[in-house]
């Protein structure tokens, strides 16, 4: 199956491939395509010749013909002395932020702590009570509104902040480095949405020993808005401290920071400024999808209506599902201003045409696509190999031996990755449906709508099960040969009362498997001990199977 609308990778993909700027999986797809396609190979060679021209130009023109420095280069020693003197003369408050970013955080936290004392004295409440109450209110507020599409800036301990989109029917997950993801998992913190009160509350409630701090301060992105800052220090566990900023006006989480025991940290900030085009002009696309009004499901007897209901939204989702447009296409569906708005940025022309054909004549539905903008999508830099990878390189060699040849390993890898890619598309889609129609909303839906919703969810679960079987048939014999053994999967009965929660758990299990597979196949570096990895992968498959089975049971009720 082709991965590109035209059947061939575009020039931008070829260039990024040539420059080593594609993520490993995408690079592999391009490489495989080039092996088979003369046209693209010729195109690639032409790009390489132009790059060689650039290298020659730098050497023969820029280096040879630009003027030389007018004066002999002076040693930097005197300059070093000047810098040393300037640094020594700077006051402490000016020097402090230069020491390490963590110090800035400490200063901010100290200020927050001071405010906290005032707050405690004023309200006569302990910080723990304040934190618990605020979180409870924030969770309730979040449940009362639909999940909007958010643009989130991620700042890691090392590296520059990157901008990502979270939410929407196309489904998305913040691209966390595997070690951070593992650390979240070890801390039992749900990192599927690290900027949510629910995840923070669940983690906080699970802590046997904790210290809370609550304060108010301006939001860093919008200083005119005041925020509650909740900072919880864990007595033990992988995650030492978590901080959440809730906007006072509506208790929306706008910022979170997580500091791990190993000194690593990560920060998430909801960005409200619109991204800009390469030429600096702002993008017209709104950053947040408008909140959808509370509208009932259609009554049993349908009468002509002038505004859309969640039934219409469900119909649109079903139509998109039939053509596979809910499996990774950047198509968004929002119930807003009395209509179902189907929108998307960067949707292929062919897909746009298909959707227009199917939905243009539908009442209360508007289809509106925008041109792609360049500023939002930050391609992930290929993760550099680290010293910690050595063990995993070893396991790939063992796997290759187990399978008999390099070619067999490549085939195995392709089969597993293709299965995983298809599985993740359904996992995202299932989760999106579950989030869009939470249990409490489903209860108020008309029976035909409820049946249709469950059918949609069942189809995603069934497709996911099929893909897991495909992966399992490849993984089980190969990993068993390396001593891998699945730990007993949890009881299929599970603890979830609603299929929506089971869908969320299934999503997390799929994501866990995806991370482990990428480490196993050498796509991303990981910290897993090689000897344990086969068992971890097989256990993750077993857990996912158990979750899917439980989900199907709940959907059938």
């Amino acid at each position: 199956m082709s991965n590109w609308p035209s059947g061939h990778p575009g020039e931008d993909l070829l260039l990024r491939s040539l420059d080593g700027e594609l993520p490993a999986r995408k690079a592999r797809q391009v490489r495989k395509h080039l092996e088979a396609c003369w046209q693209c190979r010729a195109e690639m060679e032409s790009l390489e010749v132009t790059v060689a021209d650039c290298v020659r130009y730098r050497k023969q023109v820029l280096a040879a013909l630009l003027p030389e420095a007018p004066h002999a280069w002076q040693p930097l020693v005197r300059g070093f002395d000047r810098v040393d003197a300037e640094l020594a003369a700077a006051p402490l408050w000016k020097r402090l932020p230069r020491l390490a970013p963590a110090w800035q955080w400490a200063v901010a936290t100290a200020a927050a702590a001071a405010l906290l004392i005032v707050a405690v004295l004023q309200f006569g409440q302990t910080s723990s009570v304040q934190a618990a109450t605020l979180l409870q209110k924030a969770v309730a507020a979040a449940a009362a509104r639909p999940v909007p599409v958010r643009h989130i800036s991620i700042h890691l301990r090392s590296g520059l902040p990157t901008l990502h989109t979270l939410g929407g029917p196309a489904g998305s997950l913040l691209p966390l480095p595997p070690d951070i993801h593992m650390a979240f998992q070890a801390a039992r913190y749900d990192d599927a949405d690290p900027l949510s009160a629910r995840a923070f509350q669940a983690w906080r409630n699970s802590l046997p020993h904790k210290t809370d701090e609550v304060a108010t301060e301006p939001a860093s992105e919008s200083p005119h808005e005041t925020c509650y800052r909740i900072r919880t220090q864990a007595g033990d566990g992988e995650l030492a401290t978590a901080t959440l900023l809730l906007r006072v006006a509506d208790l929306t989480p706008v910022e979170s920071k997580f500091e791990f025991r190993n000194q690593n940290w990560i920060e998430f900030t909801q960005v409200t400024e619109p991204p800009s085009q390469p030429d600096g002009s702002p993008v017209a696309t709104p950053l947040e999808a408008p909140l959808r009004p509370v509208v009932p499901s259609r009554p049993a007897a349908l009468a002509p209506r002038s505004s859309a209901s969640i039934s219409d939204e469900l119909q649109v989702l079903t139509v998109l599902h039939r053509i596979g447009a809910d499996l990774g296409d950047p198509v968004e569906v929002n119930l807003t201003e009395g209509k179902v708005l189907v929108s998307g940025v960067g949707v292929s022309p062919e897909r746009q045409r298909q959707i227009h054909d199917l939905l243009d004549s539908t009442a209360n539905v508007e289809v509106r696509f925008s041109q792609p903008e360049a500023a939002l999508a930050m391609p992930r830099e290929a993760a550099p190999a680290t010293a910690g990878d050595t063990a995993n390189v070893g396991i790939q060699t063992r796997l290759e031996k187990q399978l008999g040849s390099r070619a067999a390993f490549e085939r195995f890898s392709t089969r597993v990755l293709d299965g995983n890619e298809a599985a993740m598309a359904h996992a995202y889609a299932l989760r999106s449906v579950a989030e869009r129609f939470p249990a409490r909303n489903e209860q108020s839906m008309a029976e035909p709508d409820r049946a249709q919703l469950r059918q949609l969810a069942r189809e995603h679960v069934a497709a996911l099960e099929t893909q897991v079987r495909v992966m399992e048939s490849a993984l089980a014999p190969a990993l068993a040969g390396l001593g891998g053994k699945a730990a007993a999967a949890p009881s299929a009965a599970g603890t979830d009362a609603a299929w929506q929660q089971a869908a969320e758990d299934t999503f997390r299990a799929s994501r866990r498997l995806e991370v482990l597979l990428s480490v196993l196949l050498g796509i991303t570096p990981g910290q897993n001990a090689a000897s344990d990895l086969p068992s971890q992968v097989l256990t993750a498959v077993a857990n996912l199977n158990a979750g899917l089975s439980h989900c199907q049971t709940l959907l059938a009720q």
Partner: protein, 184 residues
């Protein structure tokens, strides 16, 4: 050159006099290796040779100050070009009333240096390539020059204050234009 990483331990050590000179040696070594590249890049931004040379020195002193101040710099070469880019544009803005420096590379290229026919052909090719480079937009040109200096897309993006995907788009257009000129 190995990446500088200022761990807490290293910050502690740097407080000792001897270790400070190690850092100075490292920065001085990078200065030796990269100063000509930075100097040339600053001239392509329109700085006169004299200002480009001063700016180059300043950029490396800033690197030293940043490292001494505890900043973690994984890729010092990328950092240097990012700061050079911003510093160069500031210098240009300060002297906005002056025309940007024009090295008139085309005239230099056209000057016959050798008689061999091969050289003549190569020179003609380079003249037309140079014209194509000159016809690129400022942003395309800057992305291209920074890429020529070995910077990765995220580093170029950080230097220019744009997204990495925008860098890719500028480079794609630039390379496409140069390819077209070559094929004509």
């Amino acid at each position: 050159m190995a990446a500088f990483y200022m761990s807490e331990e290293l910050v502690g050590i740097l407080r000792q006099e001897g270790a400070a000179s190690v850092l100075q040696t490292q920065v001085a070594q990078l200065f030796e290796e990269c100063r000509e590249d930075v100097f040339r890049y600053l001239m392509t931004l329109g700085l006169t040779p004299s200002r480009a040379q001063d700016a180059t020195q300043e950029v490396f002193l800033r690197l030293y100050a940043a490292l001494k101040g505890g900043e973690q710099i994984e890729n010092p070469r990328g950092w240097v070009f990012r700061v050079a880019h911003n510093w160069g544009l500031k210098v240009r803005a300060r002297h906005a009333s002056e025309s940007p420096f024009d090295p008139d590379l085309e005239a230099r290229l056209a000057a016959p240096a050798h008689d061999a026919e091969q050289d003549l052909l190569e020179r003609e090719r380079m003249v037309s390539f140079h014209r194509a480079v000159e016809s690129l937009s400022d942003q395309q040109k800057r992305c291209l020059f920074l890429r020529m200096e070995g910077l990765r897309y995220p580093e170029i993006a950080a230097a220019m204050g744009i997204s990495a995907s925008a860098v890719c788009e500028f480079l794609r257009r630039a390379i496409g234009r140069l390819k077209k000129v070559r094929d004509e």
